[in-house]
């Protein structure tokens, strides 16, 4: 099946070449980081995690979100997702790969990375995160390729894949729960020390991941004509809307607890993020952008007539992705480190090299995604025998 990735239009090859160019550019900066150390980043003694770990957090969510297709399709027999499901699984793969790479570029001693396996430490959440991410990657590779192979051969997928799929559903929840636990169990970090953290992570993952998937699917449709079907888009948009409402609701819960209780430790990070603390207000514009875009996305998503109208839907989705990316990425990480253990504010903003290293990882993700989706589309074209697979799913 992999041979499908080796034949393509100049546009396909051009995309790959472009991405490889970006990877090369970014890896130059990574070399720079490897030779000089993390001194090239904006990180500090007080804000010791930043942009890299923020991306890890966000993309674990994107990876987990494949479950929003898998669960309705396999548990509730929502057949409309039949064409789209492979896209979800194939989006999870690059998302997990990016997560792992963001951990690697964040390490001070990446060459010692295997120490996590050589000295397994069951009391460390990072140890579990490493396990669940790797297994999730494997699950999605197996499920994705086995079902695609079966589809190509016009056969039912082998029986043993069913339990594996069920496992992957539970696993998707587990990867994001474990990632939330990385933060939620630390006594000195008030912004993270919240029982609702895992629930917030899941709700934000289940709106932002499918939103990204849907946006990429629209792009795919524009480029190749691959059409997942109106009902699939409708169904997914509805899931995204509900998840985003829950996500906003959960954040309001945090605000209530912090401000009604009037506990300084709980209020300070939020005050820092939204109005600045001790004269530092570097994140204020970002957080308000996220707030406006987040609420704005609901304006486009909640009314059915907007949600079912692709241009309006796309606007809403873009707003949603940006809002959740700021909130769950930078907002969450920096909010957790600010104020520092001495109740002081140390400002963090990513540096240019840091962003370029991230660009390398993003481009690797995009490259893997392009190749995988190419395979998925080509297999469809082959089976359905028509160019560009314009046929909607049978159920419609």
């Amino acid at each position: 099946m992999l041979e499908k990735a080796l034949k393509g239009s100049p546009r396909y090859w051009g995309t790959l070449a472009g991405l490889i160019g970006l990877i090369a550019l970014g890896s130059g900066f990574w070399m720079y980081q490897l030779t000089n150390g993390l001194v090239i980043t904006g990180l500090s003694r007080d804000v010791s995690w930043g942009f890299y770990i923020a991306q890890l957090t966000y993309f674990v969510g994107v990876a987990a979100s494949a479950v929003m297709l898998v669960l309705p399709y396999y548990f509730h027999h929502f057949k409309q997702f039949s064409k789209m499901i492979i896209l979800g699984e194939f989006l999870a793969i690059p998302a997990v790969i990016m997560c792992m790479l963001f951990v690697v570029v964040d390490l001070g001693q990446p060459q010692r990375m295997l120490n996590i396996i050589i000295h397994p430490t069951p009391n460390s959440i990072l140890f579990y995160d490493m396990i669940v991410l790797n297994v999730y990657l494997l699950l999605n590779i197996v499920i994705g390729f086995i079902s695609l192979q079966a589809f190509r051969n016009k056969m039912d997928p082998p029986k043993w894949i069913k339990p594996v799929i069920y496992l992957s559903v539970i696993w998707a929840f587990s990867i994001h729960t474990v990632t939330a636990f990385l933060y939620a169990g630390l006594p000195g970090r008030h912004y993270w020390l919240s029982a609702i953290m895992a629930a917030r992570f899941l709700s934000s993952a289940f709106c932002s991941g499918p939103a990204l998937l849907l946006l990429l699917t629209f792009l795919l449709k524009a480029l190749t004509g691959f059409d997942p079907g109106k009902k699939a888009i409708k169904g997914l948009a509805l899931i995204i809307t509900y998840a985003m409402c829950i996500n906003v609701f959960f954040y309001l819960l945090e605000l209530f607890t912090a401000f009604y209780s009037n506990m300084p430790g709980h209020m300070d990070p939020i005050i820092y993020l939204f109005s600045g603390l001790h004269g530092h207000n570097d994140l204020v514009p970002f957080m308000w952008t996220a707030t406006v875009l987040g609420l704005g996305s609901l304006f486009f998503l909640i009314p059915t007539k907007f949600r079912e109208n692709p241009p309006a839907l796309i606007v809403g989705l873009i707003m949603l992705v940006i809002a959740t990316w700021i909130d769950k990425g930078m907002g969450l990480i920096i909010g957790g480190f600010t104020p520092n253990p001495f109740e002081e504010v140390t400002v963090y903003l990513p540096t240019f090299p840091e962003l370029m290293v991230s660009l390398m990882v993003f481009s690797i993700g995009a490259l893997v995604l392009t190749v995988l989706w190419k395979i998925a589309v080509e297999v469809r074209v082959e089976v359905e025998g028509c160019n560009h697979s314009l046929v909607p799913p049978k159920a419609e």
Binding site: N36, G37, L38, V39, T41, L43, S44, R45, D46, S48, W49, V103, D106, L107, G108, Q109, P110, R112, M113, N115, I116, I118, H119, T121, N123, S124, I125, L126, F127, M130, L182, Y183, L186, P187, G188, R189, P264, G265, G336, F337, N340, P341, F342, E343, E344, T346
Partner: protein, 260 residues
């Protein structure tokens, strides 16, 4: 596990020694340090305890004394001097507000407000840094000391997020150029970039039967001893004076007590 760790520490001490000697030969000034090189006899009478702890008498501390202790620590452990927010520090001073941010009274006595409070790793009884470390590069010894294996550390900085006291520093860059020549200690290893470090309660000195470097120069303001022995000097002091610990609500049970 624990005992193999102890063996490791011995080995590490021995290899540090080798390193020191190597450096001396290379620099061609071996005689200057030769007498400092430890031999097996040096480790014959180590200081031992059930649980090491420290009492800090803040009433005796001035900015100068804090700096004196900090300097002794830097000199003993080759701690680099780096300016700015990427600094590395094992022992330093802060205001009362910084040290005890969750217990500041609205009206603080002037004397305390001006006081320089020494800060260092608390060698917590339930250390969060140990709990989160994915490689056991940070580990707790049987005598309570929270120790680092800088050769195992992968630099993930999870321990820095976990420590509620800001006691840990990361080597964002190669620290060696930032060690002052006159403060270089050939008998203690330097670190590489990309690893985390912090106060070790001077395990290498305890192994030689000596008190921690900061305690030695503290003019009696720092008391170091066995919290597990009720007849120890430190327990006497704790019975006599009212003390507080930093952020007890974080649940890590610090082994460093402050007389205010």
């Amino acid at each position: 596990m624990k005992s193999s760790r102890r063996q490791f520490m011995k080995l590490a001490a021995a290899s540090a020694l080798g390193l020191g000697a190597g450096k001396l030969a290379f620099m061609g000034d071996a005689p200057a340090f030769a007498s400092d090189i430890p031999t097996a006899a040096t480790f014959e009478h180590p200081l031992k305890a059930k649980h090491w702890g420290m009492v800090i008498d803040t009433t005796k501390f001035t900015k100068e004394l804090v700096e004196k202790c900090a300097h002794a620590c830097r000199k003993q452990h080759n701690v680099p001097v780096i300016e700015g927010k990427k600094e590395v520090k094992w022992f330093w001073g802060g205001t009362f507000e910084e040290a005890f941010p969750n217990q500041i009274p609205e009206y603080l006595s002037e004397d305390v407000e001006k006081r320089e409070i020494p800060l260092l790793c608390n060698h917590c009884e339930s250390p969060m840094c140990v709990r989160v470390c994915p490689t056991q590069a940070t580990f707790q010894r049987a005598d309570g000391i929270v120790m680092m294996d800088m050769h195992r550390c992968i630099g993930c900085r999870y321990c820095m997020a976990g420590c509620p006291f800001g006691a840990r520093s990361f080597n964002f860059q190669n620290p060696r150029p930032f060690i002052k020549d006159e403060d270089f200690n050939p008998n203690y290893p330097t670190r590489t970039r990309g690893v985390v470090e912090k106060c070790t309660f001077c395990t290498e000195l305890l192994a030689e039967g000596k008190m921690p470097a900061c305690v030695e120069v503290s003019e009696g303001a720092l008391t170091f001893g066995d919290l597990g022995d009720e007849n120890s000097e430190i327990r006497h002091l704790l019975r006599e004076k009212f003390t507080i610990r930093r952020k007890p609500d974080a649940g890590t049970k610090p082994s460093v007590y402050y007389i205010i």
